[in-house]
Point group: C2
DNA sequence: CCACCGAGTGAGTGACCGCTCACTCTCAGA
DNA sequence: TCTGAGAGTGAGCGGTCACTCACTCGGTGG
Protein backbone atom coordinates (compact mmCIF):
# COMPACT_ATOMS: atom_id res chain seq x y z
CA UNK A 1 0.00 0.00 0.00
CA UNK A 2 1.11 3.54 -0.55
CA UNK A 3 2.03 5.28 2.68
CA UNK A 4 -0.04 8.34 1.83
CA UNK A 5 -3.20 6.26 1.57
CA UNK A 6 -2.88 4.87 5.08
CA UNK A 7 -5.43 6.35 7.51
CA UNK A 8 -2.95 6.53 10.39
CA UNK A 9 0.00 7.14 8.17
CA UNK A 10 3.32 7.53 9.85
CA UNK A 11 5.51 9.93 7.99
CA UNK A 12 9.05 10.18 9.24
CA UNK A 13 10.47 13.62 9.81
CA UNK A 14 14.07 14.63 9.62
CA UNK A 15 15.91 15.04 12.90
CA UNK A 16 16.19 18.74 12.21
CA UNK A 17 12.45 19.14 11.83
CA UNK A 18 11.98 17.31 15.10
CA UNK A 19 14.52 19.51 16.78
CA UNK A 20 12.54 22.53 15.65
CA UNK A 21 9.36 21.03 17.04
CA UNK A 22 11.11 20.34 20.33
CA UNK A 23 12.37 23.90 20.64
CA UNK A 24 8.90 25.24 19.95
CA UNK A 25 7.35 22.85 22.46
CA UNK A 26 10.10 23.63 24.96
CA UNK A 27 9.34 27.34 24.86
CA UNK A 28 5.68 26.65 25.55
CA UNK A 29 6.13 24.11 28.31
CA UNK A 30 9.17 25.56 30.05
CA UNK A 31 7.51 28.97 29.95
CA UNK A 32 4.69 27.79 32.19
CA UNK A 33 6.54 25.84 34.86
CA UNK A 34 10.19 26.81 34.53
CA UNK A 35 13.20 24.80 33.49
CA UNK A 36 13.71 22.77 36.64
CA UNK A 37 10.00 22.47 37.28
CA UNK A 38 9.26 20.81 33.96
CA UNK A 39 10.17 17.16 33.36
CA UNK A 40 11.66 16.32 29.98
CA UNK A 41 8.75 13.95 29.48
CA UNK A 42 6.43 16.96 29.23
CA UNK A 43 8.55 18.52 26.54
CA UNK A 44 8.63 15.26 24.61
CA UNK A 45 4.86 14.88 24.82
CA UNK A 46 4.29 18.46 23.69
CA UNK A 47 6.62 17.86 20.75
CA UNK A 48 4.88 14.59 19.88
CA UNK A 49 7.86 12.29 20.31
CA UNK A 50 9.09 9.81 22.88
CA UNK A 51 11.27 10.90 25.75
CA UNK A 52 13.95 8.50 24.52
CA UNK A 53 14.11 10.24 21.17
CA UNK A 54 14.20 13.63 22.84
CA UNK A 55 17.45 12.53 24.44
CA UNK A 56 18.84 11.52 21.11
CA UNK A 57 18.11 14.99 19.76
CA UNK A 58 19.43 16.80 22.86
CA UNK A 59 21.89 14.66 24.83
CA UNK A 60 21.24 16.35 28.19
CA UNK A 61 18.49 18.45 29.68
CA UNK A 62 20.95 21.28 30.13
CA UNK A 63 21.67 21.37 26.40
CA UNK A 64 17.97 21.41 25.70
CA UNK A 65 17.47 24.30 28.09
CA UNK A 66 20.29 26.26 26.54
CA UNK A 67 18.93 25.68 23.05
CA UNK A 68 15.47 26.84 24.09
CA UNK A 69 16.91 29.95 25.69
CA UNK A 70 18.99 30.71 22.62
CA UNK A 71 15.96 30.30 20.42
CA UNK A 72 13.70 32.52 22.48
CA UNK A 73 16.37 35.19 22.58
CA UNK A 74 16.66 35.07 18.80
CA UNK A 75 12.91 35.45 18.55
CA UNK A 76 12.92 38.59 20.60
CA UNK A 77 15.85 40.06 18.75
CA UNK A 78 14.19 39.42 15.41
CA UNK A 79 10.97 41.04 16.57
CA UNK A 80 12.85 44.19 17.55
CA UNK A 81 14.96 44.24 14.41
CA UNK A 82 11.94 43.90 12.20
CA UNK A 83 9.99 46.56 14.06
CA UNK A 84 12.90 48.94 13.63
CA UNK A 85 13.29 48.12 9.93
CA UNK A 86 9.62 48.61 9.20
CA UNK A 87 9.54 51.88 11.13
CA UNK A 88 12.57 53.20 9.28
CA UNK A 89 11.05 52.30 5.93
CA UNK A 90 7.88 54.14 6.90
CA UNK A 91 9.75 57.13 8.28
CA UNK A 92 8.45 56.54 11.80
CA UNK A 93 10.42 56.66 15.02
CA UNK A 94 12.27 53.35 15.50
CA UNK A 95 12.40 53.76 19.28
CA UNK A 96 8.66 54.03 19.53
CA UNK A 97 8.25 51.13 17.13
CA UNK A 98 10.46 48.89 19.23
CA UNK A 99 8.57 49.78 22.34
CA UNK A 100 5.38 48.81 20.57
CA UNK A 101 6.95 45.61 19.35
CA UNK A 102 7.67 44.66 22.94
CA UNK A 103 4.06 45.25 23.78
CA UNK A 104 3.21 42.96 20.90
CA UNK A 105 5.52 40.30 22.31
CA UNK A 106 3.48 40.45 25.48
CA UNK A 107 0.77 38.70 23.54
CA UNK A 108 2.93 35.58 23.68
CA UNK A 109 3.03 35.26 27.42
CA UNK A 110 5.22 32.18 27.24
CA UNK A 111 8.03 34.07 25.56
CA UNK A 112 8.14 36.62 28.36
CA UNK A 113 8.03 33.91 30.99
CA UNK A 114 10.94 32.17 29.34
CA UNK A 115 12.88 35.39 29.81
CA UNK A 116 12.13 35.44 33.52
CA UNK A 117 13.07 31.80 33.94
CA UNK A 118 16.24 32.49 32.04
CA UNK A 119 17.24 35.26 34.41
CA UNK A 120 16.43 33.10 37.40
CA UNK A 121 18.38 30.15 36.02
CA UNK A 122 21.31 32.45 35.30
CA UNK A 123 22.03 32.69 39.00
CA UNK A 124 22.99 29.02 39.18
CA UNK A 125 24.05 28.20 35.59
CA UNK A 126 26.99 30.20 34.29
CA UNK A 127 26.25 29.31 30.66
CA UNK A 128 22.78 30.73 31.02
CA UNK A 129 24.15 33.89 32.56
CA UNK A 130 26.52 34.23 29.64
CA UNK A 131 23.74 33.73 27.11
CA UNK A 132 21.73 36.41 28.91
CA UNK A 133 24.60 38.85 28.77
CA UNK A 134 25.15 38.16 25.09
CA UNK A 135 21.46 38.78 24.53
CA UNK A 136 21.58 42.10 26.37
CA UNK A 137 24.70 43.19 24.54
CA UNK A 138 23.25 42.30 21.18
CA UNK A 139 19.91 43.93 21.83
CA UNK A 140 21.46 47.01 23.38
CA UNK A 141 23.60 47.51 20.33
CA UNK A 142 20.59 47.24 18.06
CA UNK A 143 18.45 49.66 20.01
CA UNK A 144 21.28 52.14 20.37
CA UNK A 145 22.11 52.00 16.70
CA UNK A 146 18.51 52.38 15.60
CA UNK A 147 17.48 55.12 18.00
CA UNK A 148 20.75 56.90 18.72
CA UNK A 149 19.34 57.49 22.18
CA UNK A 150 21.31 58.56 25.26
CA UNK A 151 22.41 55.86 27.73
CA UNK A 152 19.83 57.02 30.26
CA UNK A 153 17.02 56.66 27.78
CA UNK A 154 18.30 53.22 26.82
CA UNK A 155 18.41 52.21 30.45
CA UNK A 156 14.82 53.30 30.84
CA UNK A 157 13.86 51.33 27.77
CA UNK A 158 15.30 48.09 29.09
CA UNK A 159 14.10 48.70 32.62
CA UNK A 160 10.62 49.07 31.24
CA UNK A 161 10.96 45.74 29.48
CA UNK A 162 12.03 43.97 32.66
CA UNK A 163 9.06 45.40 34.52
CA UNK A 164 6.73 44.11 31.84
CA UNK A 165 8.25 40.65 32.19
CA UNK A 166 7.60 40.64 35.91
CA UNK A 167 4.10 42.03 35.58
CA UNK A 168 3.27 39.24 33.17
CA UNK A 169 4.73 36.60 35.48
CA UNK A 170 2.79 37.65 38.57
CA UNK A 171 -0.50 38.04 36.74
CA UNK A 172 -0.77 41.80 37.23
CA UNK A 173 -2.97 42.12 34.16
CA UNK A 174 -5.87 40.67 36.13
CA UNK A 175 -5.38 42.98 39.12
CA UNK A 176 -7.29 46.24 39.29
CA UNK A 177 -5.44 47.81 42.20
CA UNK A 178 -3.99 51.27 41.63
CA UNK A 179 -0.46 49.88 41.64
CA UNK A 180 -1.29 47.50 38.81
CA UNK A 181 -2.95 50.21 36.78
CA UNK A 182 -0.02 52.53 37.24
CA UNK A 183 2.72 50.01 36.59
CA UNK A 184 1.26 48.21 33.62
CA UNK A 185 1.41 49.86 30.28
CA UNK A 186 -1.24 48.57 27.86
CA UNK B 1 27.69 17.81 85.30
CA UNK B 2 26.28 21.22 84.54
CA UNK B 3 25.34 21.60 80.90
CA UNK B 4 27.12 24.94 80.61
CA UNK B 5 30.42 23.36 81.68
CA UNK B 6 30.31 20.72 78.98
CA UNK B 7 32.80 21.34 76.14
CA UNK B 8 30.35 20.25 73.46
CA UNK B 9 27.35 21.57 75.26
CA UNK B 10 24.05 21.16 73.58
CA UNK B 11 21.71 24.00 74.29
CA UNK B 12 18.21 23.53 73.00
CA UNK B 13 16.60 26.37 71.14
CA UNK B 14 12.95 27.15 70.96
CA UNK B 15 11.12 26.12 67.81
CA UNK B 16 10.61 29.80 66.98
CA UNK B 17 14.32 30.53 67.13
CA UNK B 18 14.96 27.61 64.82
CA UNK B 19 12.29 28.80 62.44
CA UNK B 20 14.07 32.14 62.28
CA UNK B 21 17.36 30.43 61.54
CA UNK B 22 15.71 28.38 58.82
CA UNK B 23 14.23 31.44 57.14
CA UNK B 24 17.60 33.16 57.20
CA UNK B 25 19.31 30.07 55.81
CA UNK B 26 16.57 29.65 53.25
CA UNK B 27 17.08 33.13 51.88
CA UNK B 28 20.77 32.45 51.46
CA UNK B 29 20.54 29.00 49.93
CA UNK B 30 17.42 29.46 47.80
CA UNK B 31 18.86 32.71 46.53
CA UNK B 32 21.76 30.94 44.90
CA UNK B 33 20.08 28.00 43.24
CA UNK B 34 16.40 28.79 43.20
CA UNK B 35 13.49 27.16 44.99
CA UNK B 36 13.15 24.03 42.91
CA UNK B 37 16.89 23.72 42.38
CA UNK B 38 17.69 23.55 46.07
CA UNK B 39 16.98 20.37 48.07
CA UNK B 40 15.51 20.86 51.53
CA UNK B 41 18.57 19.05 52.88
CA UNK B 42 20.68 22.06 51.88
CA UNK B 43 18.45 24.43 53.78
CA UNK B 44 18.54 22.19 56.83
CA UNK B 45 22.34 21.99 56.74
CA UNK B 46 22.67 25.74 56.37
CA UNK B 47 20.34 26.21 59.33
CA UNK B 48 22.28 23.67 61.39
CA UNK B 49 19.44 21.22 61.93
CA UNK B 50 18.41 17.85 60.56
CA UNK B 51 16.20 17.59 57.53
CA UNK B 52 13.66 15.70 59.63
CA UNK B 53 13.34 18.60 62.02
CA UNK B 54 13.06 21.05 59.17
CA UNK B 55 9.90 19.21 58.18
CA UNK B 56 8.55 19.53 61.65
CA UNK B 57 9.04 23.29 61.52
CA UNK B 58 7.65 23.64 57.99
CA UNK B 59 5.35 20.74 57.07
CA UNK B 60 5.94 21.01 53.32
CA UNK B 61 8.57 22.49 51.09
CA UNK B 62 5.95 24.77 49.58
CA UNK B 63 5.16 26.28 52.97
CA UNK B 64 8.86 26.83 53.56
CA UNK B 65 9.21 28.56 50.21
CA UNK B 66 6.24 30.80 50.91
CA UNK B 67 7.60 31.72 54.33
CA UNK B 68 11.00 32.60 52.87
CA UNK B 69 9.37 34.73 50.19
CA UNK B 70 7.22 36.51 52.74
CA UNK B 71 10.24 37.19 54.88
CA UNK B 72 12.38 38.54 52.08
CA UNK B 73 9.55 40.79 50.98
CA UNK B 74 9.23 42.15 54.50
CA UNK B 75 12.95 42.83 54.53
CA UNK B 76 12.76 44.91 51.41
CA UNK B 77 9.72 46.81 52.58
CA UNK B 78 11.39 47.63 55.88
CA UNK B 79 14.51 48.87 54.13
CA UNK B 80 12.44 51.25 52.02
CA UNK B 81 10.30 52.39 54.92
CA UNK B 82 13.30 53.15 57.05
CA UNK B 83 15.11 54.97 54.26
CA UNK B 84 12.05 57.14 53.78
CA UNK B 85 11.66 57.81 57.49
CA UNK B 86 15.29 58.79 57.93
CA UNK B 87 15.18 61.02 54.87
CA UNK B 88 12.04 62.76 56.10
CA UNK B 89 13.59 63.36 59.50
CA UNK B 90 16.66 64.86 57.85
CA UNK B 91 14.62 66.92 55.44
CA UNK B 92 15.98 65.10 52.39
CA UNK B 93 14.03 63.83 49.41
CA UNK B 94 12.40 60.49 50.31
CA UNK B 95 12.30 59.39 46.68
CA UNK B 96 16.01 59.75 46.28
CA UNK B 97 16.60 58.08 49.62
CA UNK B 98 14.55 55.07 48.61
CA UNK B 99 16.42 54.77 45.36
CA UNK B 100 19.63 54.77 47.33
CA UNK B 101 18.27 52.22 49.74
CA UNK B 102 17.62 49.89 46.84
CA UNK B 103 21.21 50.34 45.77
CA UNK B 104 22.17 49.41 49.30
CA UNK B 105 20.05 46.28 49.09
CA UNK B 106 22.13 45.30 46.09
CA UNK B 107 24.92 44.60 48.53
CA UNK B 108 22.96 41.55 49.65
CA UNK B 109 22.90 39.78 46.34
CA UNK B 110 20.90 36.89 47.74
CA UNK B 111 17.97 39.12 48.57
CA UNK B 112 17.76 40.35 44.99
CA UNK B 113 18.06 36.82 43.64
CA UNK B 114 15.25 35.71 45.88
CA UNK B 115 13.12 38.37 44.20
CA UNK B 116 13.92 36.99 40.76
CA UNK B 117 13.20 33.43 41.83
CA UNK B 118 9.95 34.61 43.35
CA UNK B 119 8.82 36.16 40.10
CA UNK B 120 9.81 33.05 38.17
CA UNK B 121 8.03 30.78 40.63
CA UNK B 122 4.96 32.99 40.44
CA UNK B 123 4.26 31.70 36.95
CA UNK B 124 3.54 28.20 38.24
CA UNK B 125 2.48 28.80 41.87
CA UNK B 126 -0.60 30.96 42.33
CA UNK B 127 0.14 31.61 46.01
CA UNK B 128 3.53 32.99 45.07
CA UNK B 129 1.99 35.20 42.43
CA UNK B 130 -0.43 36.49 45.01
CA UNK B 131 2.34 37.22 47.49
CA UNK B 132 4.20 39.10 44.76
CA UNK B 133 1.18 41.20 43.97
CA UNK B 134 0.63 41.98 47.63
CA UNK B 135 4.26 43.01 47.85
CA UNK B 136 3.96 45.32 44.86
CA UNK B 137 0.75 46.86 46.15
CA UNK B 138 2.21 47.45 49.58
CA UNK B 139 5.46 48.90 48.28
CA UNK B 140 3.73 51.00 45.67
CA UNK B 141 1.54 52.54 48.31
CA UNK B 142 4.54 53.37 50.46
CA UNK B 143 6.54 54.96 47.68
CA UNK B 144 3.55 56.91 46.42
CA UNK B 145 2.69 58.17 49.87
CA UNK B 146 6.25 59.19 50.67
CA UNK B 147 7.13 60.80 47.37
CA UNK B 148 3.79 61.94 46.05
CA UNK B 149 5.17 61.24 42.61
CA UNK B 150 3.19 60.88 39.40
CA UNK B 151 2.27 57.37 38.20
CA UNK B 152 4.81 57.58 35.40
CA UNK B 153 7.63 58.41 37.77
CA UNK B 154 6.55 55.54 40.02
CA UNK B 155 6.54 53.20 37.09
CA UNK B 156 10.06 54.25 36.25
CA UNK B 157 11.09 53.73 39.84
CA UNK B 158 9.88 50.15 39.91
CA UNK B 159 11.10 49.39 36.41
CA UNK B 160 14.53 50.48 37.49
CA UNK B 161 14.39 48.09 40.42
CA UNK B 162 13.46 45.17 38.21
CA UNK B 163 16.36 45.93 35.90
CA UNK B 164 18.72 45.92 38.85
CA UNK B 165 17.42 42.53 39.90
CA UNK B 166 18.11 41.11 36.48
CA UNK B 167 21.52 42.71 36.18
CA UNK B 168 22.49 41.16 39.49
CA UNK B 169 21.24 37.75 38.43
CA UNK B 170 23.13 37.60 35.15
CA UNK B 171 26.37 38.89 36.63
CA UNK B 172 26.42 42.15 34.71
CA UNK B 173 28.53 43.81 37.37
CA UNK B 174 31.56 41.89 36.10
CA UNK B 175 30.96 42.79 32.47
CA UNK B 176 32.66 45.84 31.00
CA UNK B 177 30.77 46.01 27.72
CA UNK B 178 29.10 49.34 26.91
CA UNK B 179 25.67 47.84 27.47
CA UNK B 180 26.58 46.81 31.01
CA UNK B 181 28.05 50.19 31.80
CA UNK B 182 24.99 51.96 30.47
CA UNK B 183 22.41 49.73 32.12
CA UNK B 184 23.92 49.34 35.53
CA UNK B 185 23.64 52.12 37.97
CA UNK B 186 26.33 52.05 40.67
C1' DC C 1 13.75 -6.77 -4.05
C1' DC C 2 17.01 -6.19 -0.63
C1' DA C 3 20.37 -4.05 2.30
C1' DC C 4 21.29 -0.41 4.96
C1' DC C 5 20.81 3.73 7.66
C1' DG C 6 18.37 6.97 10.18
C1' DA C 7 13.89 7.69 12.67
C1' DG C 8 11.66 6.25 16.50
C1' DT C 9 10.31 3.71 20.88
C1' DG C 10 9.13 0.55 25.36
C1' DA C 11 10.91 -0.69 29.13
C1' DG C 12 13.83 -0.09 32.22
C1' DT C 13 17.79 1.83 36.01
C1' DG C 14 19.95 4.29 39.40
C1' DA C 15 20.06 8.43 41.83
C1' DC C 16 17.85 11.87 44.20
C1' DC C 17 14.51 14.04 47.05
C1' DG C 18 10.28 15.11 49.67
C1' DC C 19 8.46 13.39 53.53
C1' DT C 20 7.66 10.00 57.62
C1' DC C 21 8.40 7.23 61.67
C1' DA C 22 10.14 5.55 65.65
C1' DC C 23 13.04 6.90 68.51
C1' DT C 24 16.45 9.68 72.01
C1' DC C 25 17.77 13.63 74.63
C1' DT C 26 17.04 18.02 77.43
C1' DC C 27 15.20 20.62 80.93
C1' DA C 28 11.62 23.24 83.57
C1' DG C 29 8.54 22.60 87.12
C1' DA C 30 6.25 19.76 90.68
C1' DT D 1 14.45 13.54 92.08
C1' DC D 2 11.13 12.34 88.83
C1' DT D 3 8.28 13.25 84.86
C1' DG D 4 6.17 15.05 80.89
C1' DA D 5 6.46 17.96 77.03
C1' DG D 6 8.96 19.60 73.58
C1' DA D 7 13.60 19.68 70.91
C1' DG D 8 15.96 16.96 67.89
C1' DT D 9 17.57 12.98 64.81
C1' DG D 10 18.96 8.45 61.85
C1' DA D 11 17.29 5.65 58.86
C1' DG D 12 14.44 4.66 55.39
C1' DC D 13 10.20 4.61 52.02
C1' DG D 14 7.95 5.71 47.76
C1' DG D 15 7.77 8.36 43.87
C1' DT D 16 9.83 10.97 40.25
C1' DC D 17 13.06 11.98 36.79
C1' DA D 18 17.23 12.24 33.86
C1' DC D 19 19.19 9.23 31.09
C1' DT D 20 20.18 4.36 28.64
C1' DC D 21 19.70 0.19 25.98
C1' DA D 22 18.18 -3.00 22.98
C1' DC D 23 15.27 -3.06 19.80
C1' DT D 24 11.66 -2.18 15.52
C1' DC D 25 10.17 0.30 11.62
C1' DG D 26 10.26 3.20 7.24
C1' DG D 27 12.27 4.94 3.22
C1' DT D 28 15.76 5.04 -0.22
C1' DG D 29 19.74 3.90 -3.39
C1' DG D 30 21.60 0.06 -5.85
Amino acid sequence: MTPSASPTKRTLSTADERREAVLEAGMQVFGERGFLGTPTMEVAKAAGISQAYLFRLFPTKTELILAVIERSNERIYEAFAEAAAVAKAEGRDPGEAMGESYSALLADRRLLLTQIHQHAAAAAMPEVAEASRRMFAHLFELVQRETGAEPEALQQFFAHGMLMNVMAAIGAQDDDGPWAQALRVC
